[in-house]
Every structure is written in structure tokens, then in C-alpha cells.
Amino acid sequence: MSERRSYKSQAFGPGYKELELTVTVVTTLRGLAELSALVITSITFDKPVYKTGDTITAVVAYTGSGFTLAAVATALGQTGMLNGTFTVLPDWTPSDSGNRPWFAVSDNGIAAVFTAVA
């Protein structure tokens, strides 16, 4: 994605001619890495066996939600670049064979935590 912007500057003062300066900055945003597929790498539970009424905590580890974005700006023949990372969280749908309601607790981009009542 590119964006072109022009900035016009005017300076006035005694004995000076009017000076008009136009600087064009071209900024290009590009992802440095290809978008990778969402991959669920593991599901772990906090206990091997639950009793009725226990809280079940499931941790879903995954990859594919992190992206790096580079902003490249060009102006006056010079180029500058700045990288930034960001995370897009997946939309999760948890369920189980016992039809328990599952609730999302947290998601940090590499692990999502869900709970239910046994």
C-alpha cells in the first residue's frame, strides 16, 4: 500500500523572497512476511481428570496470528524504514462432546485460554 502526500511550506521575512518548497513523501506499507496459516499446535488441560464441578482450563497454543509491517518513506531522495509488529487474534469456537458452555479467558496471540465447568 502506498500513499503520496505533498506538503507546501512558505517562509516570509524581510529581504527574503517568497520561497515555496514542496516536499513529496511517498510512504509504502508492506508486510515483510507472507501471511501464515493458523496452526493449532497443542491443546493442554490443567488436570488429567476432573470431578464434577471442577473448572476445566484448556490452553490452545497456536501460530499464525503475528504479522510484521514495514513503513518505507521516501522523500527528497532519501528513504527511511520502520518495522512494527502486530497481532490479529483468531475468532475461536470452543465446544465439547458434553455440550458444556466454554468461555474465553485470554488470548495473547500465541495461546488462547478457555474454561468450562466439569
Binding site: I40, F45, V60, P90, P94, D96, S97, G98
Partner: protein, 296 residues
Amino acid sequence: MSTFTISGALNGQTATQTASFTVQVPALVGAYPAPAGGSPAAFETQIAGRQLGVVNRYEAFDDPSWPSAADQALMAQGRLIHYCWADRLKAGGNATWTDIAAGKHDAQILAKARQLAPFAKSVLLGFDNEMDGHVRLAVPGNTVAQFAPAFRRIHSVAAAAIGGASWCWIPSGNNPANQAAMYPGDDVVDWIGVDPYDETLAKGSPLATYEPFLNWLSGQSFGKGKRVGIFETGVDSNQPDAAIAAWIEQVPAAVAELGYGLWDWFNSTGSLGNTAIIPGSRAAAAFAAAAAQMGP
């Protein structure tokens, strides 16, 4: 065993993964309560030392007398009744699986369903338990291939009228080759049960007695996530009292370890063997102690 499924959607792509976890539900404690006075109350007083969670009954296909007033009172007090709804007819003969599957007994099925309907939530309904054994298969018109269609026919006719009952499929556990072919389908089964005995104590422990069926079941494509129960079990009362007691003492741990949701003692001196626990015996004390450690 429960299965957790997680699906994620990101950037137009989806990923799904599953994993299993176990919720250990305290096992129900039940019995076929003859002959300790012949009543559940006597068994509870003399053997179990507590109220049973489940009482077993074995009823004829067309007998209108069940659920009896006594059974209704048991259910009103919080017990479940496990009815083994047999294909035998009250006047003799059988409602064969072939005939049931063909719809020839639909009226009787619907009538029984309507009778059970008011008590549905207290009913564990099995049809011809131990269908895989030679006794059931000796009936002309009963074949391995016809059992599942018969079970499904009963369910299709009765389920709407008796909504809320739990449907039980209970083979003997002794005929793996027949069992798989006789499973009626996950859509019509709530409980999968088995009747494992250690008559002579040759198997050595409840764990050794109860584990083989689960091993078999885990290798099948069906039954995943179903509750599993021991709907009959026992040790021959001719075995030494101390040995029976020692065996029963191991039951709570075995049932919990294996994840069975029901443990039901066949307390009978009948023609199928004598597994009755003698009131006042060490075995009776062990039973009460075991029952106290288990669920409702």
C-alpha cells in the same frame, strides 16, 4: 471421556483441533436386590447401608404391571430403576427381534412407553440385556443381525412418548464378535453397559474384571463419549467370605480408575448363579464400605 474441539478462523482460513479430557462422575451404586428379603429396602438395610442409586428390574415385554406402585415409590424417593425390558411375553414365547423390527409389536411398545412416561427421568431402559449371549440368540427369530433393527424400532416408536428416559445397550461382554454387530447406534443409546462377573475370583480383581470391556469398546468406532456402566456384577457366594470382601473393597478404586458411571451388584440366588451377599458377613460390610465411597 469427553472431547474438546476448538476451531479458529483467521484471515479467511480455519483450523480445528481436538483433545480429550476425563470428567470423573461419582458412580451410581445399584443392585438387583433379591433375595435379602426381596426388597430394595431390605438390601439397603442389610447390605448396602445406604439408599441405592439404582434398582434393577427384569420385565416381560407385554406385562402391563410395570412400573409397579412399589417401583414408582422407589423413583419418587430418588432412585433410578433400570428396567431390562425383555422380549419374553407374559403368556410364554417371545416378541422376536425380527417381529419387533418389522413393526409387529408397535402397539405394545407405545403402550409401555406411555406407562413409563411420567417417570421417564428415573428410568434407565435396556432392551434384552446380554443380547449377544446364547440365551437370547437361542430364541427363533432372534439373530445377531436383527437386534439392532429391533432396538431402533423400539426407540423410534417409544422415544417421543417417553422423552427423558436413558436408553441403555448392555451386552454381556463375553462375545466381542457379536457385540459390535449388535450396537444399535450412537443416536439411540445414552448408556453403554456390561455385565462382568468374577464368579470364582479367577480374574482376581474388579479392575481385571471390568477393564476388558472398556478395552474392547475403545477399539470400536462407536460409543465415544457415552456413559459406561456395570449393570450386573458379582462373585459366587461359595467363595470364601474374606476373599469376596477383599474383592469388593477394591471396587471403588477400580470403578473410578476406569471411569464407569454405574456399579450394580446382581444379588441373586437364582438359577444363573448365587451371588447373593450374606447379611452380617464380611462381604456385606465391605459392600457398605464401598458404597459409602461411591456416588448416589
